[in-house]
Symmetry: C2
Subunit: 143 residues, 2 copies
């Protein structure tokens, strides 16, 4: 086997992702590692691909939890197939499109609200979202 394993430092340097982040991803179950007798991490080469996928997905706004779910279908130490990429891409595209549409709806509502001079409670859809518009920004969500 010439498929040399990577230390965390090597994976960090090659991927451009901080070692602390890699350990964090492992805690969250997004990547996996073997341990040496001295308890050090050794990564399979395919982990590089996994990390690439994680970063690419994050850059389009996916939360780690969702990325983790999708990566759950991809067994550890198996190079991701082309089909996997394609399916994931479709999934992400749908998500992004949904978010874009939502933002467009909100923008239109805002200008409409300003235009009509309302922006007071009880009348204004923006102020009283009620429906799926709620819980947009970051902040504490209750379980």
């Amino acid at each position: 086997m010439i498929t040399k394993e990577l230390t965390i430092g090597e994976l960090s340097e090659r991927s451009g992702v901080a070692a602390s982040a890699l350990r964090f991803y492992e805690r969250e179950g997004l990547i996996h590692s073997r341990r040496t007798t001295g308890n050090q991490r050794r990564y399979h080469r395919t982990t590089l691909r996994r990390v690439a996928f994680i970063r690419a997905s994050q850059s389009v706004g996916m939360p780690l939890s969702v990325i983790g779910e999708v990566l759950g279908f991809l067994p550890a130490d198996v190079p991701p197939s082309r089909e996997f990429w394609v399916r994931a891409s479709e999934c992400w595209s749908r998500e992004i499109n949904a978010r874009i549409e939502k933002m467009e709806r909100m923008r239109d509502r805002f200008t409409e609200c300003i235009g009509c001079g309302c922006l007071s409670f009880e009348q204004c859809a923006l102020v009283n979202p009620g429906d799926e518009l709620a819980g947009q920004g970051p902040g504490a969500r209750r379980l």
Copy 2:
């Protein structure tokens, strides 16, 4: 003066915003209050409008810090003019449009990346954003 002041409970009920949030907004300087001799808050009626503006702006994704900057142009205890709404609306629209465009670019890049079969480091623009794409998702930002 029949312009009765509001207690925090009244403002909370009328605006639908929790009293804890109203205190928080006040700490952050987004709204203001007078104090009674017993140290209780009394809000000017126009505060209702301010809170409406805050919630509407939040619903389109604006962070409180930016909302606070804009509200800073609006003196306390003065009803916001129509011109103020219009200018704020334009400002927010520009912001939202910028965010939508950014998301569209990212979506396109992602599908392109998947299509070309790359998604590895050094070649992939998604994985190595470098430019304005960086720092998208939530999470700790360093100063």
